[in-house]
């Protein structure tokens, strides 16, 4: 592979949102959903291998396999995942880590001089970084060069709960170094009120707008976006949605016509992770011309999404494709 031209960053392939309700057992205090996180790590690896044609079997999460690492052949065709060609970012939610502490400590109220807020802030950070650590380790076990990035440390902060400082530049730097940044929703300083919660959804939108990935994948605990709560037996899965400035149109299935207004701004404090927030975030990203795939974590459709296949050909894929509307779709 030729070295890239100086100062021209390689294009980012995909930003993945791993929802808190997929990564964790949402009702059990600080409990990882090991099975789904492990499956997702394996799928991500398979997506890389498909793209790069290379495969590794080394566990990068501990020190135990280093004799194996040191005895790798010097053959350069075998040197590492070609992440240079396939830049990915993972952003994850908090699920059963952090939410409890943030709520009890009223972190989003923001007055750090209040004892319970400061206590909540400290406890929230301990909890979300613990989850980040678990997810990074699970990815490294599959030989993915994952590195944890805490927005709190990396200079992200809010002002009255809205994003004020971001640091996409350092995420870009890690990507260009061939690493896979794993970012998470976090408790951050707030220049207006003291502290606040910065949700993974706000982070992913900021990353998407700046890094302009080929596509974004939302891994959720339901098969996609429905026209009503998925628990409703009459709920219909929306397979394809075309978005333009502030409005959307359901392309498939064609009989579900609604043309509703979509809210495209979401406050940093909205960490409920509800589907409405997700649609709004996805619509906002799709409006920039970046297709978004919403799919069930761990399913075979998730693997297809990570490979980007359904963007050009949905075939029998089960999930929701949210994309920018073409000009001929705007009038309907």
């Amino acid at each position: 592979m030729d070295p890239p031209e100086n100062n021209i960053p390689r294009p980012v392939r995909c930003i993945i949102k791993l929802g808190g309700s997929s990564a964790t057992e949402k009702d059990k205090f600080e409990t990882l959903n090991e099975s789904l996180v492990s499956t997702t790590a394996k799928q991500l690896k398979e997506a890389f291998v498909t793209l790069s044609g290379k495969q590794h079997t080394m566990d990068w999460s501990r020190g135990s396999d280093y004799d194996q690492a040191n005895s790798l052949p010097e053959d350069s065709s075998y040197s590492g995942f070609q992440l240079d060609l396939t830049l990915f970012v993972v952003v994850h939610g908090a699920g059963s880590y952090g939410h409890f502490q943030a709520k009890k400590g009223r972190v989003n109220l923001g007055d750090l001089a209040e004892d319970y807020v400061k206590a909540g802030f400290v406890a929230t950070r301990i909890s979300v970084t613990k989850l980040n650590h678990e997810i990074v380790r699970a990815l490294a076990k599959e030989c993915i060069p994952a590195v944890g990035v805490s927005p709190f440390c990396a200079g992200w902060s809010t002002r009255n709960r809205l994003l004020e400082r971001e640091n996409v530049a350092d995420v870009q730097r890690l990507l260009q170094a061939g690493l896979l940044p794993v970012v998470h929703g976090d408790a951050v300083l707030d220049s207006g009120q003291g502290c606040a919660i910065l949700s993974g959804d706000v982070i992913i939108r900021q990353l998407a707008e700046t890094l302009k990935p080929s596509f974004v994948v939302f891994l959720t605990n339901v098969p996609g976006v429905y026209d009503r709560p998925p628990s409703d037996p009459n709920a219909v899965l929306l397979k394809e949605i075309a978005v333009t400035n502030g409005t959307w149109k359901i392309v498939d299935p064609p009989e579900v016509e609604r043309g509703m207004k979509v809210q495209t701004s979401v406050a940093a404090h909205d960490t409920t992770g509800g589907m409405e927030t997700k649609i709004a975030e996805a619509a906002s990203i799709a409006s920039c011309g970046i297709p978004v795939l919403v799919v069930e974590t761990g399913s075979r459709y998730a693997l297809e999404a990570l490979k980007g296949t359904p963007i050009n050909d949905r075939g029998d894929w089960v999930g929701t494709l949210i994309r920018q509307a073409r000009s001929d779709e705007l009038d309907n």
Copy 2:
């Protein structure tokens, strides 16, 4: 307490270096020295209480005590550690976390395109952040508002193993918000060679030079600085050392006269944590007019050091005070 005047940061009280050989069981892979870390957290708390006259008993490390938190009296005299008055930073080494992976993966060689270096980098980061997490949790258990700060995430990086980018500004921001930053030696990006190890000793010098704390404490696994290896039965503890530009003088005991040259620049790759490095770093900090106390972790002398007592009156304190030489000491 009156609010501080705008834009004038409150003075930093103390930067504490918790050595890797104190925080961990150095010969056991990824094993915390729970007893010493816990004792240090308790001592730090006691040092705060002495300074602020306030005391808390809440465990801030989990969510379990939040009902207690929520039922705190609204009396403002009881609101939180007065960390506003007593700004502290903790920097810790890696000990049995990270060193093994960094060495096996030859992280300090820096070529991230090499598979084993990238693997070592990923594994080192997982390991050092795990230790950071444990230490933050131990401090939070003693109601210290500790927050982990990874230099790798926070924009610190090297160029050919020497510090190139630092981010003391964000550490200062956390201090002014009443939090206690817990920073650690880390694997970082290197703009010359790809990646490198940034040692806690380099970080602490940078923090000290910029934040200008009242004093610095090195918590080590020996009682202080000796005139020869402490294992030597003839080794003499040096109680007070006066430093000026590049030279030092042993003030106490007066019979140990050596006047040797001290190396004041230390490469980022020197992570051995040997006493020579420590003296050099301490001398470099003391040259800026910041007294340094070297003391045995967990001892009662460590508590006195954290309170800053031995700076003005060593009394029967056991440890080493390294300070800037007075003009009348320069000629001898």
